[in-house]
């Protein structure tokens, strides 16, 4: 059920003040209801792309087009970005409180349950581990029931098991609600497991060097990881990434 673009970049370039180009002629249309992953070497501009999509930064050249739907936006920053003076619940409920939603706490608590942190609701951020903080940040984005979810390496600080579980949950949420998701990751396996589409970027200045459609069941479970098609697609993304980074393709 993918349709028109919910957000798209049209030949977008980004040059930071006093720096060389970070992005060069990036064109990327995110279809509504799709799950897209972006992989690429560190510093290639993945976070910058998400910030452009969110309207937190303006392109230096080219255009960013955001549909009306894109206004219902959830953003998971690369850092947890929590307010140390608010408890976990208060942090997760912040966007809802800002919008004056009446049942903000109840909704935030439900989102905390989704990431397995309902028990930690009364704690302060400094009492949490790095991975727990990141999950609070994910809950904060989910609590707003967005139509577009931008996630910047949200699972990087998590253990393998939690990571796999949250990945499955995210994929199910996507399947059930048609949530459009753009997901930045360093893990080729994660990108293939979660996505309908994987975009591979070159080192700085970031360009899109490969754009691969991923075939797989709409609702994925651990069984998908044993699927030969899954492995083939992981190899294809890996190969594209190696080419992007200037290595000889081994496949």
């Amino acid at each position: 059920m993918t349709g028109a673009a919910i957000v798209s970049l049209d030949r977008v370039g980004k040059v930071f003040e006093g720096g060389a180009a970070a992005l060069e002629a990036v064109s990327l249309a995110i279809a509504a209801g799709s799950f897209t992953s972006i992989v690429g070497p560190s510093g290639c501009g993945k976070s910058t792309i998400l910030r452009l999509m969110a309207g937190l930064a303006a392109p230096s050249s080219g255009r960013v087009v955001r549909s009306a739907q894109a206004a219902r936006l959830g953003f998971v920053f690369q850092e947890p970005t929590l307010m140390p003076w608010r408890r976990v619940l208060g942090n997760a409920a912040l966007p809802l409180r800002l919008q004056g939603v009446a049942d903000a706490d109840a909704r935030a608590l439900r989102a905390l349950g989704q990431v397995g942190l309902a028990e930690a609701a009364r704690l302060y951020p400094r009492q949490l581990s790095g991975g727990m903080k990141m999950r609070v940040s994910i809950a904060r984005a989910l609590a707003t029931t967005p139509s577009l979810l931008l996630m910047d390496e949200p699972f990087a600080a998590l253990d393998e098991i939690t990571r796999a579980r949250l990945g499955r949950d995210l994929r199910r949420l996507h399947h059930e609600t048609g949530l459009s998701t753009v997901f930045v990751t360093h893990s080729v396996y994660e990108s293939v497991f979660l996505s309908d589409r994987v975009v591979v970027m070159s080192p700085r200045p970031g360009r899109i060097v490969a754009d691969l459609a991923i075939a797989g069941p709409a609702l994925r479970d651990e069984g998908f990881r044993d699927d030969p098609a899954y492995h083939a697609q992981c190899r294809a993304v890996s190969a594209a990434l190696r080419v992007a980074m200037g290595e000889q393709a081994l496949v």
Partner: protein, 261 residues
């Protein structure tokens, strides 16, 4: 004995030893009280002169606390105004600095001339000394917003007031409290310095500084020490009290308020 208790007891032991040494020195060398009174002699003087000293302590503390309160209002208020406009901050802040770096003893005589009511003049002097740390710290705190959190607020459509209330004010709280700690001591210093400038002639001057001056004219050194003791004790208690308030406000979330493990 736990490490924490040892750390608390050590300065007490130190103080007792120093007092005992002082007492012994005075007795062995047989120093007259107008050169160096023994601690026991100072304590005696404190008891003897308690009614007048206590009244003076009250006068000094009233000015100190009034000045501290005014410094909180003024420092916080100005910081909030500065936070609304960089231009205003840039044009006014230098004058706050000038007010701060000019020694109070040098301005106090002028203020005493221009402000006919001595209590009001003393209060103004103490306020000038005390408000600056609150202003400068709070201003720094209000401006020290984490850019990521600011973007988060922007992303979720926070208004200017919501950013101030939910982000900038809480972020400035530890800075404000650190400024308050300094201001507490400074308002006492400001009050005393202004009293000295007012001297023994003016009608309003009956605080502890006045007592010290008065005793010095009579070469009543033990009484000078007794008044000094009360001043130091007040300063210590103000500092400690503000420390307790800070810790209560910051304890749950701020690193500085973490208990030592």
């Amino acid at each position: 004995m736990s490490e924490r208790m040892r750390l608390a007891v050590m300065p007490l032991v130190m103080g007792v030893l120093a007092l005992a040494g002082w007492e012994a020195l005075v007795r062995i060398a047989d120093l007259p009280p107008y050169i160096l009174p023994a601690p026991s002699r100072i304590a005696e003087s404190l008891v003897e002169n308690w009614p007048s000293l206590a009244a003076s302590l009250g006068v000094t503390l009233r000015i100190t606390f009034a000045a501290l309160f005014a410094a909180i209002l003024g420092g916080l208020g100005l910081a909030l105004i500065f936070a609304q406009s960089r231009a205003l901050e840039a044009s006014l802040f230098p004058y706050a600095v000038i007010l701060q770096v000019t020694p109070m003893v040098a301005i106090a005589p002028l203020i005493l001339i221009y402000v006919p009511n001595t209590s009001a003049a003393l209060l103004l002097c103490a306020w000038i000394v005390a408000f600056f740390p609150i202003l400068s710290n709070t201003t720094a705190g209000l401006n020290a917003t984490d850019p990521n959190l600011l973007q988060l607020m922007q992303l979720y459509g926070a208004s200017r007031w919501q950013v101030l209330w939910h982000l900038r004010l809480p972020q400035a709280l530890p800075y404000f409290l650190a400024g308050l700690r300094i201001a507490g001591g400074l308002s006492l210093i400001g009050a005393v310095v202004a009293e000295f400038a007012a001297g023994t002639t003016s009608a309003g001057g009956s605080g502890l500084a006045f007592r010290i001056l008065e005793a010095s004219y009579r070469l009543d050194v033990p009484r000078m020490y007794a008044a000094l003791f009360l001043l130091s004790l007040s300063g210590i208690l103000i500092f400690a009290g503000i420390g307790v308030v800070s810790r209560l406000l910051l304890y749950p979330w701020h690193e500085s308020a973490k208990r030592p493990e």
